[in-house]
């Protein structure tokens, strides 16, 4: 039983990371209808930038500079890519995001190199014992950081003027425009927020797996999370991340040996598919009511 809980808790902690990436997707989708496929590449870029900055400056400054890079990326993307594509069909925006993902990947790797780099930001990675369960202190600390980040985001969206403007934009573009909210600036701020979320995810995954190309593939891990929770739902992204993280880990450990292993790659999709058959807009997604 202790083993079961160990697998479960480790799965939940991995799920927190999935939630973070899915959160970035959900934020941007809600605000601008862009299914931002470059979210994973933004994490990669953040990781690469952080590793690059760490060689010449202390940690806190490096993180600030990384967020600066993400801000430049956010403004560049919104004003150079998505402003000319305003009011285009969602599929075209999606394709633009795929193009963007090539672009971000290429830029990041051209500046900071293609080779895998280790990232050590000084958080200890020792197993801590709780009864019979062993949990990595790194995962635990990052779980807490992610929790604080989500809390800050909630405060930002609920209590600040900018946050309220962003929620208005997410609700209805035209209504937001008509009360004088600058749409493009709101989008840019949303992209910055998504960039910060991507940075945290990039640091977490980068410290674990090294900063390299495969970091951008965590986007694929986040997609089933996203549809399970509902594409435009932030609580959905968080909850579904935990469900998928735990479910995937449990399935790999307890089910994997019977079917030949490696089922982690598609198990989340299977879960999401089965769930969506009953609730086609995910757990908390906005249901679209159609009429002729």
């Amino acid at each position: 039983m202790a083993f079961f809980f160990e697998v479960l808790i480790n799965g939940l902690l991995v799920g927190v990371m999935y939630s973070l990436v899915a959160l970035g997707f959900a934020l941007i989708y809600k605000a601008s209808d862009v299914f931002n496929f470059a979210q994973g590449d933004m994490s990669l870029l953040a990781g690469l930038a952080l590793v690059g900055f760490l060689t010449v400056m202390p940690l806190w400054l490096a993180i600030l500079c990384t967020i600066g890079v993400m801000t430049i990326l956010a403004y560049g993307t919104v004003y150079m890519v998505f402003r000319p594509l305003l009011a285009r069909p969602p599929l075209i925006l999606f394709m633009a995001a795929i193009g963007l993902s090539f672009l971000v990947q290429g830029i990041g790797q051209a500046i900071w190199g293609t080779d895998a780099k280790g990232l050590n930001i000084g958080i200890p990675d020792n197993p801590i014992e709780f009864g019979e369960i062993w949990i990595s202190s790194f995962d635990l600390i990052f779980g807490a950081v992610a929790g604080i980040l989500v809390l800050l985001l909630v405060l930002f969206f609920q209590k600040t003027r900018t946050g309220r403007a962003l929620r208005a934009v997410a609700d209805d573009h035209e209504a937001a425009l008509s009360v004088g909210i600058p749409l493009l600036r709101a989008w840019a701020v949303t992209w910055v927020v998504a960039g910060i979320v991507a940075t945290v995810a990039g640091i977490a995954w980068g410290s674990r797996l090294g900063v390299q190309f495969s970091l951008s593939l965590i986007a694929l891990k986040a997609l089933p999370v996203l549809i399970l929770g509902g594409i435009d739902s932030i609580p959905g992204a968080i909850l579904a991340g935990l469900v998928i993280g735990a479910g995937e880990n449990l399935a790999e450990v307890f089910l994997g040996p019977y079917v030949g292993g490696g089922i982690q790659t598609f198990f989340p999709y299977l879960v999401a598919l089965i769930f969506l058959w009953f609730k086609p807009y995910g757990m908390f997604g906005k249901e679209i009511i159609e009429r002729v």
Binding site: L91, F94, M95, L100, F102, Q109, I227, V259, T265, L270
Partner: protein, 352 residues
């Protein structure tokens, strides 16, 4: 002046329903066919035939398949490379393990892919938009997993099957020119069939579903039948394309070739080429196949001193930037560009 639609009187139902009602279009298609069948095989070098024309044709076919699904029926799929893989593996299993002749095994690969595609099309009954798109990713991952983990499929060695010698009626296909003709002889009938399919009842039902599926259901279109058919037909084309590209270009069925990136490239082909047009599939495939080669060659000429990984990254940058730029300049694809050219040529060089 140069593109004339007038003076073209239809005096029978047959001429009213013709694929190319305008004589100029008929001539144009005739010229293209002569080019494809006679000029290119004799004028082009082996490198051009085997590394550019063959993949171009195969990916055009796959893009056409995806265009049925996404461009005509409006169901986005980002797992289409997996259906190509299914076609590739099953046709090679049929051909090399069971000794079935080449043509039936290629078509058989397509049929197996169609069956698999139909199964993965079932969620489309409930899911829409990006929910559906992400769920088609499930096809990509599940099929990749099956092909690498089930020993029976791959024969056990690294999930690859080598292509044996290709034979049709005892005639061996070895050279680039012969392979080129093999691909072309599959391509032309399938494209004609596809063009007729989208002009007919099924194609119109698909377009109705694309435009508004609730309304389509009300006027009596069976959503279940037509959405699943769209997935099946589309996967059939992908499967045939996959088996052809494996037999004539890659040389061995390998799951690595049919990864997610290829799925995105296919989607890029139809979006850049033009959704909901047969011609657009060819334009898009040309763009996506030729562009990386072009970028690569240009980089080689101008940036020889630059280390190779930087070159690879600059390729990615240029590729991504060109996709974005193209979408900004012409969001409805190259087919629309062609339409604009035709509209202009109607009057040009006269002002009106």
């Amino acid at each position: 002046m140069f593109y004339r639609e007038c003076g073209n009187l239809k005096d029978s139902y047959a001429s009213d329903m013709a694929i190319f009602p305008i004589p100029l279009d008929r001539w144009g298609v005739g010229v293209m066919l002569i080019l494809a069948f006679i000029v290119i095989p004799f004028a082009a070098s082996d490198y051009w035939l085997s590394s550019i024309m063959i993949p171009f044709y195969c990916f055009s076919l796959a893009a056409l398949g995806l265009n049925f699904l996404t461009g005509y029926a409006g169901q986005v799929s980002i797992g289409h490379a997996a259906f190509m893989a299914v076609g590739a593996y099953s046709s090679l299993i049929l051909y090399s393990r069971y000794g079935i002749p080449l043509i039936p095994s290629v078509l058989g690969g397509g049929v197996v892919a169609a069956a698999v595609g139909a199964v993965f099309g079932i969620p489309s009954l409930r899911l829409k938009g990006f929910y559906l798109a992400v769920s088609t990713l499930a096809a990509q991952f599940i099929i990749e997993w099956v092909l690498t983990h089930w020993k029976w499929v791959s024969g056990g060695v690294f999930g690859t099957i080598d292509t044996p010698a290709l034979r049709i009626f005892g005639f061996e296909i070895n050279t680039a020119t012969e392979k080129y003709f093999l691909v072309l002889c599959f391509l032309v009938p399938l494209v004609v069939m596809g063009k007729n399919l989208v002009r007919g009842h099924l194609g119109r039902s698909w377009m109705a579903i694309r435009d508004m599926d609730v309304a389509a259901e009300i006027i009596g279109i069976s959503l279940f039948r037509d959405k699943v058919t769209a997935f099946a037909v589309s996967s059939f084309y992908a499967g045939v394309a996959g088996s052809l590209v494996t037999m004539t270009y890659y040389g061995a069925a390998n799951i690595e070739e049919f990864n997610l990136i290829l799925s995105f490239h296919l989607l890029g082909m139809i979006i850049i080429g033009g959704m909901g047009t047969v011609l657009g599939s060819f334009f898009g495939a040309g763009f996506m196949v030729l562009l990386p080669i072009l970028i690569n060659q240009t980089m080689l000429t101008f940036m020889q001193r630059v280390p190779s990984d930087l070159r690879a990254n600059s390729e990615a940058i240029v590729f991504g930037a060109l996709i974005v730029l193209f979408l900004i300049v012409e969001p409805y694809g190259m087919a629309r560009l062609w339409q604009t050219v035709k509209d202009k040529l109607r009057l040009w060089p006269f002002p009106y």
